[in-house]
């Protein structure tokens, strides 16, 4: 075990995989000489050279398309899209090509492609640079979408993504890059499609991913003190495939749930989770599943408005209290 940041875990994992497998190469804007806008690729150009760490033109569709071609012919490209917002320009390549090629050609070609990209607001980057649009990829059959919330998962899921034979969108988050945590020293890949119970609890299930999974843990610790509530936190880690079993199992034990996401509410991943819980734990549920999400507006630039639009720890606390109140339960025991 070592303690390191999310950023360091990503960088070390990229280096490990490039040393292990000569077919792994990196492509993206400013990832070489400038070492990446968020410095994830620092030092990699110096170690691996220009052929394996490629500075591309500012043309997401072009370099994502090139990476798809490279992947079809046996390489394992890891593309960095500077922020997920710019992936919109490559959406046709990702949705219509990367995700469909395996099926369209009857399995003759695979696309072992990783697209690393950070999402998230809160940095005052304005409406077009602060989106959480991972759902555009989580909708798509043929894609895999992972969203680690801590340094250990960042490592294990990046290992898994690079070694996976299907296209994987690897969602990072601007607010998590400096988050520190314990990271195992061994290079065992995680399992894509497996959620984790990051905090066991009895009273209510909180389901989240990426930044909101970290927020959920903070809220759980705080509410254990303030409200005497024992919250179970399920970190989805993967948005496609979804680990419905872990979510449903948890709710069957706690009988109620709140779902968190940084994205817009309507048609969000929270809708799928709420529908899944309602479906899988119908007779166990004591209250409707509540969702906490971002206000349904393009994210404002003004700091006060941006903060107001993003889901906060207080919003989560309120939703948890409302849910528990509606089943007449508090502090881990039924109210007579």
């Amino acid at each position: 075990m070592s303690i390191m940041t999310y950023r360091q875990a990503l960088r070390d994992t990229l280096r490990t995989e490039m040393r292990r497998d000569p077919d792994v190469l990196l492509l993206g804007e400013e990832i070489g000489v400038f070492e990446g806008s968020y410095k994830i690729t620092a030092g990699l150009l110096a170690e691996f050279g220009e052929k394996r760490v490629r500075d591309t033109p500012i043309a997401e569709e072009g370099f994502t398309g090139a990476a798809i071609g490279a992947a079809m012919l046996g390489l394992r490209p890891v593309v960095e899209i500077m922020t997920i917002n710019f992936s919109l320009l490559a959406l046709d390549q990702i949705v219509n090509h990367a995700a469909k090629i395996y099926g369209m050609f009857g399995g003759q070609a695979r696309v072992p492609l990783v697209i690393r990209t950070p999402g998230g607001g809160g940095q005052q980057l304005g409406a077009t640079h602060s989106q959480n649009i991972e759902l555009y990829y989580a909708f798509v059959p043929g894609m895999k979408v992972v969203a680690p919330s801590n340094p250990a998962d960042a490592k294990s899921l990046l290992l898994a993504a690079i070694r996976d034979d299907d296209p994987v969108l690897f969602l990072e988050n601007l607010a998590l890059y400096n988050a520190k945590g314990e990271v195992p020293d061994d290079d065992t890949p995680g399992e894509i499609g497996r959620a984790a119970v990051t905090r066991p609890g009895r009273d209510i299930t909180v389901v989240a991913y990426s930044r909101m999974a970290a927020v959920a843990l903070t809220v759980a610790e705080r509410m254990a003190q303030t409200d005497g509530i024992d919250i179970e936190v399920v970190d989805l880690r993967s948005l496609r495939p979804l680990d419905r079993e872990t979510v449903v199992d948890s709710v069957r034990r706690t009988h109620c749930a709140v779902v968190l996401e940084d994205d817009w509410l309507t048609y969000g991943i929270g809708a799928e989770i709420a529908a899944t819980i309602s479906d899988g734990a119908f007779d166990w549920l004591d209250a409707p599943v509540r969702r906490v999400a971002m206000a349904e507006v393009p994210l404002p630039y003004a700091k006060t408005l941006e903060t107001a639009a993003l889901p906060s720890a207080d919003d989560v606390t309120t939703a948890i209290r409302q849910t528990l109140a509606s089943v007449g339960r508090r502090a881990g025991k039924d109210i007579p």
Partner: protein
């Protein structure tokens, strides 16, 4: 809500008196008549798209319009969806009301950045100073013997995106009124047309008063269970309801959602409070789909009325299959009825 002014109602293309007995038209023809009416009423309405002028569109929805309104108002564009939508955004800033045709659903992805980063956001980013009266028409769904990229249901992407309105018509009457209402709206509207139903006919009464654009509608009353659907699945669900009535004596309520963003779920909630059971039907792959949102909302709003979980009938979580398999892929009458049985058997 936008309503079409009765005084400016158009005469049908054949020149007959709108007051006469209504005649039967297809969805395709109704859209054509609606576009014509909007263009006659407002010279700022222009159409743009691939092969929509001389050819009249691959589905002939814009048939004859370039001939009557000229090349300045019905523009044949290059095969460049990002360019079509981008140009429409610029035109809208300058006061035009562009209507873009995206030839097939799968072709909308190259225009995604323009739609999500610009079209959906300019009104907000200009603090309301810039209006975006742009309509993007998208023939969607499968069932015409085409392959992936030509048979897709991408409505969820846009319904999820803040700043966009999304509607889907299911019959000629709605097609005629909804396209005009969408054009009159000052907000960007994604207008989904059920391409495999283009040839479905119904009587079109031009003197009728249309319901508001962003409203859902109960098409069939019933008390046994509720079915919510939209676009091409509406016909399937109505047929399923008829069959259930004849074969099983079930009395199914069918609601056409019509508007996917904003959603108008009050009629669905009201219905579920009576029936206690809901089936949601949609052609798109089911995960994180329109059906998921309806299920999530209904479980929250009608928690104490639901007798069974909301059952979702959707396409499968695979890329759209080759045409020989599409009958297996598309939810049909049997799958809808099976879902109803599942709900009733809970």
């Amino acid at each position: 809500m936008t309503e079409v002014d009765a005084r400016s109602r158009p005469r049908p293309a054949d020149g007959s008196d709108p007051g006469q007995a209504p005649s039967k038209v297809t969805i395709g023809k109704a859209l054509n008549l609606g576009l014509r009416a909007a263009m006659e009423r407002d010279p700022k309405v222009i159409l743009m798209g691939e092969d929509i002028g001389r050819l009249g569109g691959v589905f002939r929805i814009t048939d004859g319009l370039q001939k009557d309104f000229g090349e300045q108002r019905v523009l044949d564009t290059p095969l460049a969806e990002s360019g079509i939508v981008g140009a429409a955004i610029g035109l809208a800033i300058r006061g035009y009301r562009p209507v873009c045709e995206i030839q097939f659903d799968g072709f909308i992805f190259p225009a995604f950045d323009q739609i999500v980063s610009q079209l959906a956001k300019l009104n907000y980013r200009s603090q309301g100073r810039i209006r975006m009266p742009v309509v993007i028409r998208v023939p969607f769904g499968g069932g015409i013997g085409a392959v992936e990229h030509h048979s897709e249901s991408p409505e969820s992407y846009f319904a999820h995106t803040a700043g966009l309105k999304v509607v889907a018509c299911s019959n000629p009457v709605d097609a005629y009124w909804m396209i005009q209402q969408a054009i009159e709206s000052d907000e960007p509207v994604l207008f989904f047309e059920p391409k495999r139903r283009y040839h479905e006919k119904a009587e079109l009464d031009l003197t009728a008063t249309p319901v508001p654009l962003h409203s859902s509608r109960v098409l069939r009353r019933g008390g046994t269970a509720t079915i919510a659907c939209y676009g091409p699945m509406v016909k399937t669900c109505l047929e399923a309801a008829e069959s259930a009535a004849e074969q099983e004596g079930h009395d199914l309520e069918v609601i056409d959602l019509r508007t996917l963003s904003p959603l108008d779920l009050e009629p669905v909630h009201e219905s579920v409070r009576r029936t206690g059971r809901l089936v949601v039907a949609s052609e798109a792959p089911g995960e994180s789909s329109i059906a998921s949102e309806i299920a999530a909302r209904v479980q929250q709003e009608c928690f104490y009325s639901l007798e069974a979980p909301v059952v979702r009938v959707t396409g499968f979580d695979t890329p759209y299959p080759p045409s020989k398999l599409e009958e297996e892929y598309l939810p049909d009458l049997d799958r809808v009825l099976h879902a109803v049985e599942q709900s009733l058997g809970w």
